[in-house]
């Protein structure tokens, strides 16, 4: 075990994969000479050289297209999108090309590319640099998608993503890059895709979260003496761990989902619908989704913190769910805003 920040865990995963497989290459804006705007590729250029670690122009469509072609012809490219919003100009390459190559070649071609993108609010980047946008990818068969929740998660999921023969999108909450934690490196540290992880035991409610919200859900659970919450880090959003989540909720009888994204069409909507349908009649309360409101991410520090679910708010929402057996209004509806 090594103690490191999450951005260092990303760099460690990249370095370990590059050491083990000469076909792994890394490119993106400012990833080589500068070591990445968030220092997630620090030291790679020095160790692996300019053929395998490359700075690109500001050309997301171009370099993600290159990742598709490189992956289909035998490399395992890892492309970095500095802010997830920049993927908007290149989404075709991920959703419509990479995600379809295996299908369109009857299995003859694979597209083992990894697209890493920083996501999320909390650092004052304003509404065009703070979204999560996971649902750009979640409606597009052929892709896999994971969301990192800390240093171990970063190391383990990223290595699994690079090794996977399919295109995988890795969403990295920017606000977590500086957070430290113990990391098991090497093969033991790799986290299989498609499996959720229980991060806290509990009996009264199952809280499913992902990314930066895992820490929020944990803190909320720790704060209550009235109920005990099991907290699950979903880890892989596509394909998500249906069996794991359903069996957890079957045991507690209550499902709460905590998401850092707008209410409408979040990843939690899919989980709520699936679990609600599968466990109808077994649930002791309606499914509760705790999300951000349907507004662009605000800039002002207090507003930005208000925008995202925080531990106190999550605890309070779960208190109300358990006390009344009904889904409480989100804070903005409680204040008279429309839902």
């Amino acid at each position: 075990m090594v103690r490191m920040r999450m951005n260092q865990a990303v760099a460690a995963a990249l370095g370990d994969e590059m050491r083990e497989d000469p076909d792994v290459v890394v490119f993106g804006e400012d990833v080589a000479v500068a070591g990445g705007p968030f220092k997630t590729s620090d030291g790679l250029l020095e160790e692996f050289g300019p053929s395998r670690v490359r700075d690109t122009p500001i050309s997301e469509m171009g370099f993600l297209g290159m990742a598709v072609g490189a992956a289909a012809s035998g490399l395992r490219p890892v492309a970095e999108i500095m802010f997830i919003e920049f993927l908007g100009v290149a989404l075709d390459m991920v959703v419509t090309e990479a995600g379809k190559f295996h299908f369109l070649s009857r299995g003859a071609f694979t597209c083992p590319m990894t697209v890493r993108a920083s996501i999320g609010a909390g650092l004052g980047f304003g509404c065009q640099h703070s979204q999560t946008m996971e649902n750009w990818m979640s409606h597009a068969p052929g892709l896999k998608m994971v969301m990192l929740s800390g240093p171990q998660s970063a190391y383990g999921l990223l290595r699994a993503a690079i090794r996977d023969p399919n295109p995988v999108v890795v969403l990295e909450p920017r606000a977590l890059y500086g957070g430290r934690g113990q990391v098991t490196t090497g093969a033991d540290g790799i986290i299989p895709l498609g499996e959720a992880r229980r991060v806290r035991e509990g009996d009264d409610v199952t809280v499913v979260s992902a990314g930066a919200m895992v820490k929020v859900a944990l803190a909320a659970a720790e704060a209550s003496d009235d109920w005990s919450a099991e907290v699950i880090d979903l880890q892989t959003l596509i394909p998500w761990d249906r069996d794991g989540v359903v069996s957890a909720v079957r045991r507690t009888g209550r499902l709460v989902i905590v998401e850092e994204s707008p209410y409408t069409s979040g990843w939690g909507t899919e989980i709520a619908a699936y679990v609600g349908a599968r466990l109808f009649g077994e649930l002791r309360a309606p499914v509760l989704r705790i999300t951000c409101p349907d507004v662009p991410v605000p800039f002002g520090r207090e507003l930005e913190q208000r925008y995202m679910p925080n531990p106190g708010y999550v605890t309070d929402q779960i208190d109300q769910l358990l006390a009344t057996g009904r889904v409480p209004d989100p804070w903005w509806v409680g204040e008279g805003r429309s839902s």
């Binding site: 190559f101 369109l104 299995g107 071609f109 896999k144």
Partner: protein, 330 residues
């Protein structure tokens, strides 16, 4: 349909000008047949045919190795045939049958043959340009002497992927040849309505790479130009943009009668029809004797009839094919 016959077709086009002529005749007859099948209501969906552009297709196929990966557009039947794919696997794909090159789950716009070097063809304008650069990146990183070929139409020269792909290929000196089939129309719009310059090859200058105009109606010139650009790329000289001046005889897709074309334009281009002019040249050189061209026409017609029969005997695309290749197994 086996691998042997596909490679044999490819070798013939690479080796022999008369075989190239026969290949061009086959492409023209195939595309005419496809249009006929749609008109008769025997095929559903859409299709995009490439009558008039046959010399570009054989130019690429004759010059490239099967290990040189090609990205191609949704107007890809001709290039697929020239690369060695058989009429029945392309027609089967167009008609949604199991015999199709992708099992009938992809359709006319999506042809693919890994052994012949054809990546899944692109139905998004321009998308194949940076993807070709990516295939070239693999060759460069691994140190092989393969070259990638990115084929696109004039309509793609105005989308960002073109500029981003050329720029990236140029700064990294990637082994890639970009081939613009300038058939004068981007979908329903004539090029001068969408593009402020006459020669798209001029755009290469912005990226510091050679931009060469090629007579896309002459298969001898297309073969020569592609071969030369491939040699440059193979020997580390970086990318080239080839602009093949050609003409699309049909409309954009099957629903388009191309009534927007100025009067006399088709006739002017048809005077330089690539098949007629090549036939005359081969006859004057003594490579086609009296009766040879007619024999080729007959062989091609018989081959296409046999292909259609094989396709019609093939079952429709299966549910297994639909679910079979969403994810590659871990």
């Amino acid at each position: 349909m086996g691998n042997g016959r596909r490679m044999e077709r490819r070798r013939a086009v690479a080796a022999d000008r008369v075989a190239r002529y026969e290949q061009m005749v086959e492409i023209r007859a195939f595309e005419d047949r496809v249009q006929g099948l749609f008109a008769e209501g025997r095929v559903h969906g859409t299709t995009h045919t490439a009558q008039g552009q046959e010399a570009v297709a054989v130019g690429i196929a004759a010059a490239a190795r099967p290990t040189d990966l090609v990205t191609c557009t949704y107007r890809g039947h001709g290039i697929g045939l020239a690369l060695g794919m058989t009429p029945e696997v392309i027609l089967g794909e167009i008609m949604g049958r199991e015999i199709g090159c992708v099992g009938g789950i992809a359709g006319s716009m999506h042809l693919c043959d890994r052994e012949l070097g054809l990546l899944p063809t692109f139905a998004i304008i321009g998308a194949g340009i940076p993807v070709a650069a990516g295939a070239a990146l693999t060759a460069q990183v691994r140190g092989t002497d393969d070259v990638a070929i990115g084929v696109f139409g004039d309509g793609a020269a105005n989308i960002g992927a073109f500029h981003e792909g050329l720029n990236l290929a140029a700064i990294w000196k990637l082994p890639v040849v970009f081939i613009c089939e300038n058939n004068q129309y981007g979908e329903y719009s004539r090029i001068d309505l969408t593009t402020p310059i006459e020669d798209l090859a001029d755009r290469a200058a912005s990226y510091g790479i050679p931009g060469i105009i090629v007579d896309g109606q002459d298969p001898d010139q297309t073969v020569e130009a592609v071969s030369a650009a491939l040699d440059v790329a193979r020997s580390g000289g970086g990318p080239t943009l080839l602009e093949m001046k050609t003409y699309r005889y049909a409309g954009h897709s099957r629903a388009d009668k191309a009534e927007y074309r100025p009067e006399g334009e088709f006739e002017r281009w048809y005077e330089r029809d690539p098949i007629n002019t090549f036939r005359a040249r081969l006859e004057s050189e003594g490579l086609l004797a009296a009766g040879d061209a007619e024999a080729i026409d007959g062989r091609v017609a018989a081959r296409l009839e046999a292909a259609l029969k094989a396709v019609e005997e093939s079952p429709p695309a299966t549910v297994d094919a639909m679910f079979g290749n969403i994810y590659a197994p871990v």
